[in-house]
């Protein structure tokens, strides 16, 4: 994002402008909906209610948010070292494999409190490993990370396809999925956790991994802006010569950063495999990795921004599903369109109305000054 250096009060930048942008996005979406002869107001009502209106909806929204936080953070971390990691999709896929294999291995023998940390490590390792190769090639052979990560997404898909169809497929099952894990390897759902405390909420895929997402966000914030490693990463990202001058081993930083990035992306596997499906299956990443790019950039590569953006996308996914459910004439492609519009207005055109506001604001303050003078 081109950092605007004109002075506007914070609340306009972080509050008003995004608000106007999203309204614009919905205005245009509403127009498209009106075109196909549906009632836009109704549609927006359904979407918002469908995303936040009741506990189940909220549950789903937050469940998607969890995934986006992971992939968004992954992209952001790499971005601070000016590495453009398009490979979140593949890293998440392979991370999920790691989680799955571990659960398949241990679920009969160990309790959750032992499996969970191991699973987190396993997914982290697998995701990091999948990011390591592109990183290594970038650092030591100068091969462009964008290409290699794109390639590795395809390779990951091929690998998973092979493993699931030929090796992991549950005996006697028709569909390319592993066997279901024992309950000991299931992350508790939020509705279960609430139940422990006697609170009754409707079931949803939302599970313990949202806590992991929160932890990850805090960690990234501290790590990037308040540790020497983050300092090195950012310096490398801004000025490689300066980094070398400062005695930073740029190759190691590149590799380290990408591995961290891959690990973060891989936690989608925790949420999906251990938290929701309790088995390894095809295409569970469903594009979360790619959306992570938009999430991260819309969130200005900052954890707080990323959390907000993730929430927005979570709401879009869930609210969109709701909309498709309630209004049959609205197909899933219409939802895609709306998502595109939101990314366009809240992401790409984020600064569109800023100059106008600046003018308004400065006039406003001018007038006040003169008023004071008189």
């Amino acid at each position: 994002m081109s950092s605007p250096n004109k002075n506007l009060p914070g609340w306009i930048d972080v509050g008003l402008i995004p608000l106007i942008n999203i309204s614009l996005a919905f205005l245009v979406s509403g127009f498209v909906i009106w075109l196909i002869g549906e009632d836009p107001i109704e549609a927006v009502k359904i979407m918002i209610n469908g995303a936040f209106g009741y506990d189940e909806a909220l549950g789903y929204t937050l469940y998607y948010t969890t995934n986006f936080v992971f992939t968004g953070l992954a992209v952001a971390v790499a971005f601070h070292a000016s590495l453009f990691n398009i490979g979140g999709e593949g890293q998440a896929y392979i991370g999920g494999l790691g989680v799955g294999l571990l659960c398949l291995l241990l679920d009969q023998y160990f309790p959750l409190w032992l499996i969970l940390p191991l699973a987190i490590i396993a997914s982290g390792l697998f995701g990091a490993a999948w990011a390591y190769i592109p990183a290594y090639l970038q650092a030591y052979r100068g091969s462009h990370i964008v290409i290699t990560t794109i390639m590795f997404n395809f390779i990951a898909a091929a690998l998973m396809n092979y493993l699931l169809v030929n090796i992991l497929i549950a005996p006697g099952s028709g569909s390319p999925e592993s066997r279901v894990f024992e309950e000991t390897a299931w992350l508790p759902f939020m509705h279960e956790i609430f139940a422990w405390f006697g609170a009754e909420i409707t079931r949803s895929p939302l599970n313990l991994s949202i806590v992991l997402a929160a932890i990850a966000s805090v960690f990234v914030w501290f790590f990037i802006w308040h540790t020497r490693w983050g300092y090195a990463i950012r310096m490398l990202g801004h000025n490689e010569n300066a980094a070398q001058y400062s005695g930073i081993d740029t190759k190691r930083v590149i590799i380290g950063t990408m591995c961290l990035s891959g690990a973060l992306a891989s936690f989608v596997g925790i949420n999906e495999i251990m938290g929701v499906h309790h088995r390894i299956l095809l295409e569970f990443t469903a594009g979360y990795g790619f959306t992570g790019i938009a999430v991260s950039l819309m969130g200005r590569n900052h954890p707080i921004g990323i959390i907000i953006a993730s929430l927005l996308f979570g709401a879009l996914y869930q609210g969109g599903a709701e909309l498709a459910f309630e209004i049959p004439t609205i197909q899933k492609e219409m939802i895609t369109t709306i998502q595109g519009l939101v990314i366009l207005f809240c992401g790409a055109l984020a600064l569109m109305i800023r100059p106008t506001l600046e003018r308004l604001f400065s006039n406003f303050t001018q007038n006040n000054k003169t008023a004071v003078v008189e």
Partner: protein
């Protein structure tokens, strides 16, 4: 009182040129005949399957159709939660008192079109193009190969898969290239079980003046004159029947395994392709069909043991 039917399509979407679309046609037929509206949903990621099915159940929809093997787990779960709602799952088996599982013996149908392909082939080489390498598709391939080898023991069968990502079901460009590559390798009849990718295969066949075989629904009309036939799979009928029987109160749980005997799978003959089908072929297929129904020929089901002797 009127029933409130619902259907949950899988990730391919109801226009996937494959079984989702089949189901869609079936329920549309039902709607137009009876005027009864149905609820529908297209899932866009794995966790929406359970969500959508449960939502349908909550809204009191009954019966609910789940399309595709991938919905097996979701149906199983929700069916237990709602024991008095009727569920029908297509292409998978869920063993519950309130679930009807409709599975097709695609291998038998594929066997027949394999026979036709081999007989129509002058090069004695036939091709198969699948979407993704998954058991269901292997099932098609395997039956097809067995059929081809049944008429011509020395027939060789080329097999390609389109890809490993969902786009493999929507890549006509790659489809036509795969077809061309198989033509180059001597094939002159190609059976495509690859959703939208098939469109490219049929086009390539037309452009090259070779033959192609459609899948799932009768696709002969797509390229009249170069579509040898289509391996039809009566998903539409199955879906239609689910609603129909439910309406008449005759819906029954259990496993419906639809093969040639039940006309669940078949090969399509219409004016678009009758010029291509000789009487000899018709006779041969008729014979093969009877022997399969009579159990004289046992067509291998890939999904039995996830392996294929004839490929």
């Amino acid at each position: 009182d009127e029933i409130k039917p619902a259907v949950v399509f899988d990730m391919g979407g109801k226009f996937d040129k494959s079984f989702n679309e089949g189901v869609y046609n079936g329920v549309e037929k039902f709607k137009s005949e009876t005027g009864i509206e149905y609820k529908e949903f297209e899932v866009t990621n794995p966790s929406q399957r359970e969500q959508a099915i449960r939502k349908m159940a909550q809204r009191g929809s009954n019966p609910i159709i789940g399309v595709g093997f991938a919905q097996e787990a979701a149906i199983a779960k929700v069916a237990q939660e709602y024991p008095d709602i009727h569920f029908t799952i297509i292409d998978a088996v869920v063993d519950l008192p309130n679930v009807q599982s409709v599975v097709f013996k695609e291998h038998e149908g594929s066997f027949l079109v394999g026979v036709l392909a081999a007989m129509a082939s002058e090069t004695n080489t036939v091709g198969f193009i699948g979407g993704m390498d998954i058991p269901l598709i292997q099932k098609f391939a395997c039956g097809y190969a067995q059929g081809a080898k049944y008429v011509k023991g020395d027939a060789s069968v080329l097999s390609n898969m389109t890809g490993t990502t969902p786009s493999a079901w929507n890549d006509p460009g790659k489809g036509s290239e795969l077809a061309k590559s198989q033509f180059d390798r001597g094939a002159d009849v190609i059976f495509a079980a690859a959703g939208g990718t098939g469109i490219g295969v049929y086009q390539a066949a037309k452009d090259a003046g070779k033959l192609a075989i459609g899948v799932d629904s009768n696709q002969n009309h797509l390229q009249p004159g170069t579509m040898l036939t289509s391996m039809t799979k009566q998903v539409d009928v199955a879906a239609y029947n689910t609603f129909k029987t439910a309406m008449e109160g005759t819906w029954k749980p259990g496993i419906l395994s639809l093969g040639l005997a039940e006309n669940g799978v078949d090969w399509a003959l219409d004016e678009n392709n009758k010029s291509l089908i000789t009487d000899e072929m018709t006779a041969k297929v008729k014979e093969a069909r009877e022997e399969i129904v009579a159990g004289k020929i046992s067509v291998h089901d890939y999904m039995e043991d996830n392996s294929c002797p004839s490929l």
